[in-house]
Amino acid sequence: MLLKLQKRTLVLSQIIGYALTIFIGVTIILVTSQFYFDIKPLLSQQTDIFKSKSAVISKNISVFKTIDKEKIYFTDKEIKDLKKQPFTKSISKFNSATFKINAYSNKTENVPVFYTDLFFESIPNTFLDVETDEWKWDVSLDFIPIIIPENYLNLYNFGFAESQRLPVLSKNTISQIEFNIQISGNHKSKDYKSKIVGFSNKVNSILVPEEFLSWANKEFGRLNKNKTSRILIEFNNPSDKTILEYFNENNYSISKDKLEFSKLVFFFKSALIFVFVIALVIIGLSIAFILLSLNLIIQRNKELLLNLYNIGYEHNRIAKFYQVLISSTTVLSIIASLIISNIIRNYYLVEIINLFDFTENKNYILLFGISFILALIIIYNLLIVKNIKKIVIPKNEK
């Protein structure tokens, strides 16, 4: 009887509307959160290349600059200005060798005979993305460790070796090969043993320890003053759009790809957050909507509810029908959300696994869904009892 009586107080369209909006809101929240957790390792993996948020910049070389070479160097004023920019965390100049360098192999060694001119540069160790125990030098050592860009090896393996019918080399093999370096200048020369001890993804140059280059420039260098043509810059936030604007204005060249990727990550995260916030708004509105609807139902049926209380029905028992109704609607809607969210996740996981080397992350959908159910049910049950109590019990009786 009580059920029959209270059922008549409901407006079905309001309940369906609520079920639909809470379903949509919770589904979006569950999918976006889970999607974020799933691809988070993928994003950090990709951005590892750009871990230190740094890039190498140089001046663009134009026809005029090939004639006037001085223009490829950064002036002290330009370096100061770059340091002052809000996006700059720190900068470091590339040290260049100002003496002649030759690399060659001995006939006796098990490597093809070669003799080539080389160049060396150096940067502070903190900017390096290679960690090796062999990266050290002092005057007493006759060995110079060298780091080359990883793409040099690729260039050799997939370009040069292919066309010259030479064997392809792995990083490990190439690190075993020892060769000789001769440096000369100021009417003297010195021979060293050398080896490639690492491959850099960040710095596109042939690097030697800074201690060695400073010493060798003093001993063999042609110039008194070292000029800076390339600068390694570390950013506070590589997605800062003013970076590219500044470099374009000053006609500096930068490895944009890496910046673009970071920008992409930033936009992707922003889009996820935006969708997440929209879903939160939808959920908030649906909660407000059902609470308002309930309040309306209670107000419209105030007389009926009061009569029930007058003939002996406790406020908790009167509230029970609305509590069960809203709670079960919420539970069913969120269960539907859980199912749909898992289906969507399985679908996008297949796509991601096809595209990337990807290990599946933990599934948080059930945990989040149950948390939603518990939180909403507690809120609703407390508010419904409170509202019914407010209507049926005279003030003095409370």
Binding site: M1, L2, N307, N310, I311, G312, E314, P394, K395, E397
Partner: protein, 209 residues
């Protein structure tokens, strides 16, 4: 159970409106177990208010009420098994049938069986309306349903607020018999309000408001 009103006065009535009363502003008025009381007054003198104060759904009064010596603001607990009330405005549920309205109350205590309820409906000559919605009934029919509903629970006090205002003599006689039977069966007290003196029941005490 006995009910004692001590210095009762509605807060919404002026002193002039409640002068010369047997209840309001009396140091103590006691309704004893097993007795029948009539509260008599013309319209607007607060007859319904007295019953509402006792029933606990109007708390706008000064003074206090004790139930078997216990002062309580929460009379709700007494409504299921101690105090039953026939409201002047019936307080029936118009979207339920005659039987459902009575059963809605009866299910709280299961005081009567379905047969007993059907019997009572038959006795007040509403058996043909048993399954009709209350909203389709006349005032007199509704009044009879309200009285039957009040009888379908255990009680020690039966409050009747102008219970025969829409009934003819024949129906008054029928429902009075039922009321008297149930009151004596439960050894309960009865407090009834009326505009005038009435001879349908024998009262132990008549109180003027």
């Amino acid at each position: 159970m006995s009910i004692k009103l001590i210095n009762i006065k509605p807060t919404y009535m002026s002193d002039a409106e409640i002068s010369a009363s047997d209840i309001y502003l009396q140091e103590s008025v006691t309704f004893e177990k097993g007795k029948k009381y009539l509260i008599k007054a013309s319209s607007g003198h607060g007859k319904t208010s007295v019953l509402n104060f006792i029933f606990g759904n109007n708390t706008n009064f000064s003074g206090s009420i004790s139930y078997s010596g216990i002062f309580s603001n929460n009379v709700f607990d007494l409504r299921k098994s101690k105090i039953s009330y026939v409201f002047q405005d019936f307080k029936l549920f118009s979207s339920l049938s005659v039987f459902e309205n009575i059963q809605l109350k009866n299910t709280l205590t299961n005081h009567k069986t379905v047969e007993e309820i059907e019997n009572l409906i038959e006795k007040v000559l509403l058996d043909h309306k048993k399954d009709s919605l209350v909203k389709k009934l006349s005032l007199g029919q509704k009044q009879r349903v309200a009285i039957l509903r009040a009888l379908c629970q255990p009680f020690e006090f039966l409050l009747l607020d102008e219970p025969f205002s829409h009934l003819d003599k024949k129906n008054i006689r029928i429902v009075t018999n039922l009321i008297v039977q149930e009151v004596s069966k439960q050894n309960a007290s009865l407090i009834m309000t009326s505009l005038d003196e009435t001879d349908v029941l024998t009262f132990d005490k008549v109180l003027n408001l």
